[in-house]
Amino acid sequence: MAEVHVIGQIMGATGFSESSLFCKWGIHTGAAWKLLSGVREGQTQVDTPQVGDMAYWSHPIDLHFATKGLQGWPRLHLQVWSQDGFGRCQLEGYGFCHVPSSPGTHQLQCPTWRPLGSWREQLARVFVGGGPQLLHGDTIYSGADRYRLHTAAGGTVHLELGLLLRHFDRYGVEC
């Protein structure tokens, strides 16, 4: 019966090698969570920064959850994509972060990574674009053995999430 309001925005991203970036995002929750209102997933616009290297999206996130348990606390998973001069999109990084569990405004920085692929693929990525992508997107946030995956670090996605919690104290959860 506890409620969690996640209100915030995906501010933008820094540190990516490409400049025209956009972000696909989604929120994954456990079975105990119930989305009361809001959209679970979305996509930002493409931002091409003119000044500085931070791509600003300021993409709003407004979700209202009801939960009957703490398990499966919502986590945000992100995919940063870049769009090249031909309007083609390629993956720049995967990332995920938990929605903070304390109320208030939080500045989050979500580092990202992307699969590296074989040298051939790396070469192809440099010259013709595209790139290796995960076949199963849930790897981003699931606890699978990822040690076999060779990845390269991407940039960081900056998030600003405000949290409103309600009735958690009723169930003995302090926050």
């Binding site: 994954h28 119930k34 209102s37 009801a66 090249d84 074989s118 595209g130 997107g137 076999r148």
Partner: protein
């Protein structure tokens, strides 16, 4: 003094004692130290002062010190309770090892020295005696720690220096001449005599001091750095080495040189032989390794699983075995098979540790990456993140290699036979390959042998019983096998016979017709057999069979005899009993009869059993032989082997009769192609191939189908084309969807048979299909063959670039769990996720005899054991979060019970009731239960049909259905609504462009600056379009510009005079005739000139807001007024979807304002004007809001909907002719109004094209037809006429299609016109061709217009649709006035089906015929009464402040009149009606009119009545009349007439 410390001391002393017996070198050091003691140190004065007092006691411990170091560390911890310092203990250890080394060296030196008989060792006694004093000094030291710290600091300074000195001294020692033996020690002696006071001993002393401190556990110990100490130790060691060197020098003299000892190799070898055991490399015979009299046992041969043994070289193994045999003769090392016991090789063929892979070769399924090309962004897959969408495409490869007809209409008789022959031959080959008869014969032999051996028991140990039993079983088996074999043999033989028969038939046919059609040729090869052997074998077989049969019969006989005997016995007993009973009966004759009844009823007569007959051998033999002759080859008869070849030659065409030539030509004209249907949609088709003379078609095409979902069906359609005509569908072939294991390259070519049920009769040699024909001349023995054939194909899943089969997951839900399941699920771990049937799998596993011990099969075995042990165990669920339940705050029910959450969710889902719900309360208790009432009621009532509102049940059903469909469509579009285009989000002003002609700001605006200002000729300014999102109530206005009207009916003069009825309408032919002069205008001469004929004004009502213009005068008024009406979106929701569903209409009503002088007293006339204004409704124009919304503006002249009867008004015409407008005006009939309607601000209408794709799909799922309003802008759905009629709702298209169909069925030339009209916008009209001109029909209103009618609402024509083609208007103009409708002219009309794309003979989606049901008249009458009642109630409601009186008389009059109107379609009745009304209601002033509508619901009727404004009359003595008439048409189509009138009694 601590007891512990003391103990340590004692140990230390013992140490020294032992050591010092031999340690010569050390003694020298001791001496050194002793001497040092005597010498005063030469260091700084300070040191002298501080150290001197301690010198005495310090010397002694110095001697012991080297050995106590290690132990002292432990001692130190005791009394002072200082923390142990690791560095100190380390040094201790280092010291210790150093000492050890030294000790060893000393030992060596000593041995040498001893051998040389060195002098006696001096006793260590004196030192020992001194030790008590040393202890005393310790206590002293303990009292003054501060002093010591200071001293050690000074020592640090002096140490560097002392080290150097020490080295020097050591060198000096070395260089000294060796002291001869016999003396105490060279060093000691040297020291004794030549010691001088160097600074070096000071260092030594300081070290001693420190060591002493350590043993005592002094506080200064921390000050001593470990490095320092190490160094000192090192120095110590070095010192010792120096000493040893000195010793060596001395030992040289005692060494005697001897020759090296040598042992000869032989002796050595011999010795070795005695000592060593060399196991042989030869293989050990097995018997040695096993206990005696035990045969080796090979478990593997017995079928047990033995793992692979570890690899050992043969020789190594042999050596080991030999060794074990000798060394451990117990033989526990050897297994049953005589090999060394060994566990299965633990070495796995693959590394268990994940190899360090080169990047990109990661193999874990869930970590797989896929290189994706950078792709253009597709909107469809917008939200793909994490939602488990099936990624990537999947591919099915369909390889169609060819087609063979087993029957075809063009088959000649010979072909039929050939096909039969080929089929039989195939059968023969198949049977031959299996050779079941041979197999069964062999089995029979084997069984007989077994019986033979079983009968001659050689093994006495087996019990007789079991033998008997097995023999019995064998015999049963023999019998069974024999029967089977006989059947098989007979089949073989008949097959052969049939083949030969067919071949003979074929030969005779070829001879008869004198030409050959097929290259088939049957050759019978005879295989000679050895007659004698064959005969013998045959005979033996027969004999064996006879004997077996005899035996069987005998057994049977015996059994029967047994039975017979038993039966006989029984019978005899019964007989006896019967006899006895008879006697008894006689006795009992006198007894009461009731006793008789008690008696058991007499047993039935079992009948006398017949003894069985013994079998006769001769008869049996006869039978057997007969059967053999029938089913088996006669002995000595050669074996016949048929061989079918295509070696024959086909007669060339010129030698064939005409019919045959015709047939062959026909075959050549035919071609075949296949369509590939995936999920019932055509995806591709093969090339069209000509049919070969052998009726085979080779395609050899592979189709790669890229798919997204699991295929539902794969179908091939066989099409045949003859010449250039259209293709006909021969048959459908359903291909099985391949198993997930079938991938390209592995799929075998399979043949699937098909057959068609078409009936074809041909006029040549072809036998046709589905028609009887016969081979006989007399036509007997008729055959009916259907077209049939086989398609050879293979279907397989394609393999992706990385070797992964491109198979979609079995079910879409599974995909998320797949990776996780893999660990838990045995099936998926063996890689066959497609296996669904556990039982089958288990069956397969048992059949294929999998080794259950093999660990490779372990998962499978586990699975099978699970599957077979009980169905219930197989988990059919998957729990993601195991402990969820335990950690839950609340239960699900409680969560679902929360009203607040429910409300929030419903609002989020945009459920209509809650879509714009604002401010949901924070607490559950604040939410009223009734909030949900409506919603729940709606959910409940979804299937309950409410008849209250609709009255008519059929319409209620339809309305409900429509409502449901509307809901489901809206729900679907809610999703689509969240997809935005760029234009939805970004308002982008067009960038000024120089080159563009119209909007070029830079180009034209420059000229504009120079242009003259013309304020009287304002230019149109483009308005900004507003996306309907940031709007709220009051922002949007509807602007209605009423410009002018034409031909408004005028008041007729006082009704006292009856005038010549003026024909307001003309006959049908007149109306559309081009010449306008046919009608004769009537002139009402009674009108005084200048009198106002009519004072019309316009009232616009929209959403119950009413605005009206000023009153103009005359029948052709001009208002030129702009009316502004506010627009309110439903629920304040200005989103596109919401606006699209606005159902409101704009009513434009034209009224006549009538002024009545109500002054009753003439005297007051001068003082004031007292008039009453009455308004009389003249007509209306109704424009739906959706049209305005989509058209963004409506501009044009509309026909005013004027009731057919308008009492008190008539059309006035004379003026027009006089004014000369007639050429244009008089073409029309009725009244018109010119309007301009628009919205302010302009709203961007929803894009309707975008959803077409979605809708097309949706429509294909649910066949259904909405009216425009419910789907306006979203899509346009067309329904077939029968659906349209069933639903009784539809938009222009449906009306137009139905109308056009009716016209066509009437034999008229009719087309569907797609174009735009006013006020509907894009619409469909119907065009018909009458004698010499075209007529345009408005299907919704039923009005029609000539092509050149100016007031035709159709404004542009886009395309024409005829029954067989579609034409697009490519003329310069699109106005129907200016275009030519002659579709045969290709320059004017571009046809869709042309020579390049011929009409493919599409079938119609419309039903063959429409079925009409009669409408229930009683129901219609009932409906009529109800509507009347409702309307009356409504009118009374609308007049809340006045009394509403109903004039019954008038009502009944009107009611009688309404059917007349229906009959005459509202024409030609006005005058009669008026006359009649006047007659009846002479003393009333009467104003009223009939309304005519198609019936759908009650609400529009109410609206229509309301909009007439009849109720607005508030004259006190007004009376009303209202009559309703419903005329039922078939199919529940109802025509509603409402006559509303107000009556005012005239004085």
């Amino acid at each position: 003094m601590n007891p512990k410390e003391e103990k340590v001391k004692i140990i230390a002393e013992e140490f020294t004692e032992n050591e010092e017996d031999a340690a010569v070198g050390r003694r020298k050091k001791k001496v050194q130290r002793q001497q040092r003691k005597k010498q005063p140190p030469t260091a700084g004065p300070e040191e002298m002062v501080s150290e001197n007092p301690h010198l005495g006691p310090q010397q002694e411990p110095g001697q012991e010190e080297p050995k106590t170091h290690l132990l002292s560390t432990t001692a130190r911890r005791g009394p002072r309770s200082l923390p142990p310092i690791p560095s100190a203990s380390r040094t201790g250890f280092a010291e210790f090892s150093m000492r050890e080394r030294m000790r060893e060296k000393l030992q060596a030196a000593r041995s040498k020295a001893e051998s040389a008989l060195l002098q006696e060792i001096p006793t260590p006694r004196p030192r020992r005696l001194r030790s008590p004093s040393e202890r005393e000094s310790e206590t002293e030291f303990g009292t003054e720690p501060g002093k010591e710290v200071r001293r050690t600091q000074q020592e640090d300074d002096s140490q560097n220096y002392s080290k150097v000195k020490f080295h020097d001294s050591a060198r000096k020692i070395k260089s000294k001449p060796q002291v001869p033996p016999g003396f105490p020690s060279p060093e000691e002696a040297y020291n004794f005599f030549t010691f001088n006071f160097d600074p070096e001993p000071e260092e030594e002393r300081s070290e001693e001091e420190k060591a002493g401190a350590k043993t005592r556990g002094g506080a200064d110990q921390e000050a001593v750095s470990p490095g320092q100490q190490d160094e000192e130790e090192l120095l110590d060691g070095r010192e010792a080495e120096d000493l040893l060197l000195g010793l060596e020098h001395m030992a040289d003299d005692f060494v005697a040189i001897r020759p090296a000892e040598y042992e000869s190799v032989h002796r050595w070898l011999q010795k070795e032989k005695e000592m060593l055991f060399v196991p042989s490399r030869l293989t050990v015979p097995t018997y040695k390794k096993l206990p005696e009299n035990v045969q080796p046992r090979f478990l593997e041969d017995e079928g047990l699983y033995i793992g692979a043994r570890p690899e050992v070289a043969r020789t190594t193994g042999n050596i080991m075995e030999n060794r074990l045999l000798v060394q451990e003769p117990e033989r526990g090392w050897f297994g049953d098979d005589g090999r060394i016991l060994a566990l299965p090789s633990p070495i796995k063929p693959f590394p268990s540790r994940p190899p360090v892979l080169p990047p990109g070769q990661s193999t874990a399924a869930e970590l797989e990456t896929l290189y994706k090309k950078a792709v253009k962004y597709v909107h469809r897959s917008q939200h793909m993140i994490g939602s488990g969408d099936p990624s990537g495409n999947f591919q099915v490869d369909i390889d169609i290699s060819g087609l063979i007809f087993t029957h075809h209409p063009c088959f000649s008789r010979e072909h039929v036979l050939a096909a039969k022959l080929a089929q039989l031959y195939d059968q023969y080959l198949a049977r031959h390959q299996r050779n079941k008869a041979k197999f069964l014969t062999d089995k029979l032999h084997a069984l007989r042998n077994a019986v033979q051996t079983g009968l001659n028991p050689e093994k006495p140990q087996q019990s007789l019983e079991t033998t008997q039993k097995t023999i019995k079983e064998y015999k049963a088996e023999i019998w069974q096998t024999r029967r089977l074999r006989d059947a098989e043999q007979e089949k073989d033989r008949t097959l052969l016979k049939t083949i030969i028969k067919v071949w003979k038939e074929m030969k005779s046919l070829r001879e008869f017709q004198r030409f050959t059609n097929t290259p088939l040729k049957l050759v019978l090869r005879k295989e000679k057999v050895d007659q004698k052997a064959d005969e013998e074998a045959f005979e033996a077989e027969i004999q064996a069979e006879i004997s077996e049969l005899l035996e069987e019969h005998r057994e049977e006989y015996e059994q029967k005899m047994e039975e017979y005997r038993a039966a006989h016995q029984q019978w005899k007993a019964w007989k006896r009993a019967q006899r006895a009973r008879k006697k008894k009966k006689k006795h009992a004759a006198e007894e009461p009869p009731d006793e008789e009844t008690e008696e058991a009823p007499p047993e039935e007569d079992p009948g006398k059993p017949v003894p069985p007959e013994p079998t006769d051998r001769a008869v049996l033999e006869q039978q057997v032989r007969e059967r053999a002759a029938q089913s088996r080859r006669r002995p000595g008869e050669p074996t016949l082997v048929p061989e079918l070849s295509l070696a024959g030659s086909v007669t060339p065409n010129d030698q064939c009769p005409r019919v045959e030539v015709l047939r062959r030509e026909d075959v050549r004209r035919r071609s075949v192609y296949l369509k590939v249907l995936f999920n019932n949609k055509e995806v591709s088709r093969t090339v069209s191939r000509q049919l070969g003379a052998d009726f085979r078609v080779h395609f050899g095409q592979i189709f790669n189908l890229q798919i997204f979902n699991w295929p539902e069906s794969l179908t091939l359609q066989v099409y045949e084309t003859v010449g250039h005509s259209s293709a006909t569908l021969l048959a459908e072939v359903f291909l099985p969807i391949p198993e997930t294991t079938v991938v390209t390259g592995r799929a075998p070519i399979e043949e699937v048979e098909f057959s068609s049920n078409q009936h074809v009769t041909l006029d040549h040699e072809g036998v046709g299909s589905g028609v009887p024909f016969s081979f006989e001349a007399d036509g007997s023995n008729q055959l009916i063959l259907m077209t049939s054939g086989k398609v050879s194909h293979s279907v397989a899943w394609a393999i992706g670039e990385n070797g992964i089969p491109l198979i979609p997951p079995l079910s879409q839900q599974n995909i998320g769990f797949r990776s996780a399941l893999k660990r838990a699920d045995a099936i998926s771990s063996i890689g066959t996720s497609g296996l669904a049937d556990m039982k089958k799998l288990a069956k397969w596993a048992t059949e294929s005899k999998l080794d259950p011990n093999d660990p490779n099969n372990a998962p499978l075995m586990q699975l099978i054991s699970v599957a077979t042990s009980g169905e219930s165990y197989v988990p059919d669920f998957f729990r993601l979060e195991q402990l969820q339940q335990e950690f839950n705050f609340v239960s699900d029910e409680e969560l679902n019970r929360s009203k607040r959450f429910r409300l929030l969710q419903l609002r989020n889902q945009e459920v209509p009731e809650f879509r714009n719900y604002k401010q949901i309360p924070v607490y559950d208790r604040e939410i009223m239960e009734k909030v949900f009432q409506d919603y729940e009621k709606r959910l409940r009532d979804r299937n309950v049909i409410e008849t209250k509102d609709h009255i008519d049940t059929h319409r209620a059903t339809v309305a409900k259905y429509l409502q449901q469909v509307r809901e489901s469509v809206i729900n679907r579009f809610l999703i689509a609504k969240h997809h935005f285009l760029l234009t939805d989000l970004v308002v982008e002003e067009e960038v000024p462009n120089i080159s563009s002609e119209g909007s070029g700001i830079l180009g034209l605006s420059l000229f504009k600056l120079a242009e003259q200002k013309r304020p009287l000729r304002p230019r149109r300014k483009g308005r900004k379009k507003v996306t309907a999102q940031s709007l709220s109530d009051g922002d949007v206005k509807l602007l209605v510009n009423i410009i002018r009207a034409y031909d408004i009916p005028v008041r007729t003069p006082t009704p006292s005079k009856f005038q010549q009825p003026s024909r307001t309408s003309r006959t049908f032919v007149e109306k559309h005739a081009a010449s306008p002069s046919t009608h004769s205008p009537t002139h009402s001469a009674d009108y005084p000139l200048g009198q106002v004929l009519v004072r019309p004004f316009v009232e616009v009502s929209f959403q119950r807001t009413i605005c009206h213009t000023t009153t103009a005068e005359g029948p052709n008024p001009s208002w030129n007024e702009e009316l502004e009406l506010p627009f309110r979106a439903p629920n304040g929701d200005y989103s596109t979807a919401s606006l699209q569903s606005v159902k409101d209409d704009v009513f434009i009503n034209i009224f006549d304002e009538v002024l009545y002088d109500v002054l009753e007293d003439d005297r007051e006339r001068g003082r004031g004007i007292h008039t009453r204004i009455e308004r009389h409704w003249l007509g209306c124009v109704k424009i739906p809001f959706s049209t305005i919304y989509f058209q963004s503006r409506i501009d044009g002249t509309f026909k005013i909907d004027i009731p057919p009867v308008l009492l008190g008004y008539s059309k006035e015409r004379s003026m027009m002719i006089e004014r000369g407008f007639d050429s244009v005006r008089s073409l029309s009939e009725g009244s018109y109004i010119t309007l301009f309607i628009t919205m302010e601000p302009q709203l961007v209408p929803g894009e309707s094209v975008r959803e077409k794709e979605l809708v097309a799909r949706y429509v294909s799922l649910i066949p259904f037809l909405p009216d425009t309003v419910s789907f306006a802008g979203i899509c346009d759905l067309w329904s077939t006429s029968d659906q349209f009629l069933d639903l009784l709702a539809g938009d222009e298209e449906e009306h137009a299609v139905l109308l056009c169909n009716y016209f066509l069925s009437l034999g008229k030339k009719a087309w569907l016109v797609m174009g735009s009209a006013i006020p509907e916008g894009a619409t469909a009209y119907v065009l018909t061709w009458e004698q010499n001109h075209y007529l345009i029909w408005n299907p919704c209103s039923g009005h029609f217009y000539g092509q050149f009618d100016t007031f035709c609402p159709l404004k542009s024509v886009g395309c024409l649709i005829g029954p067989d083609n579609v034409w697009f208007n490519i003329q310069q103009y699109d106005s129907p006035l200016r275009i030519n409708f002659d579709v045969t002219k290709p320059k004017l009309w571009k046809s869709f089906f042309s020579r390049s794309l011929p009409y493919p003979g599409l079938s119609s989606v419309q039903p063959e015929e429409l079925i009409y049901q009669c409408t229930d008249k009683a129901a219609a009458a009932e409906l009529q009464d109800r509507i009347e009642k409702i309307l009356k109630e409504k009118i009374m409601d609308w007049r809340p402040r006045h009394l509403t009186r109903w004039n019954r008389y008038c009502t009944s009059t009107l009611r009688h009149f309404l059917p007349l109107l229906e009959r005459s379609q509202g024409e030609d009745v006005e005058d009669d009606h008026r006359a009649e009304l006047l007659k009846q209601l002479g003393d009333y002033r009467f104003s009223g009119f009939p309304l005519h509508m198609a019936y759908s619901e009650v609400k529009p009727l109410i609206e229509a009545v309301y909009s007439t404004g009849v109720h607005n009359i508030d004259v006190p003595n007004v009376e009303f009349a209202l009559a309703v008439y419903i005329h039922p048409y078939p199919k529940n189509v109802l025509s509603v007439w409402i006559y509303v009138a107000s009556l005012i009694r005239s004085r």
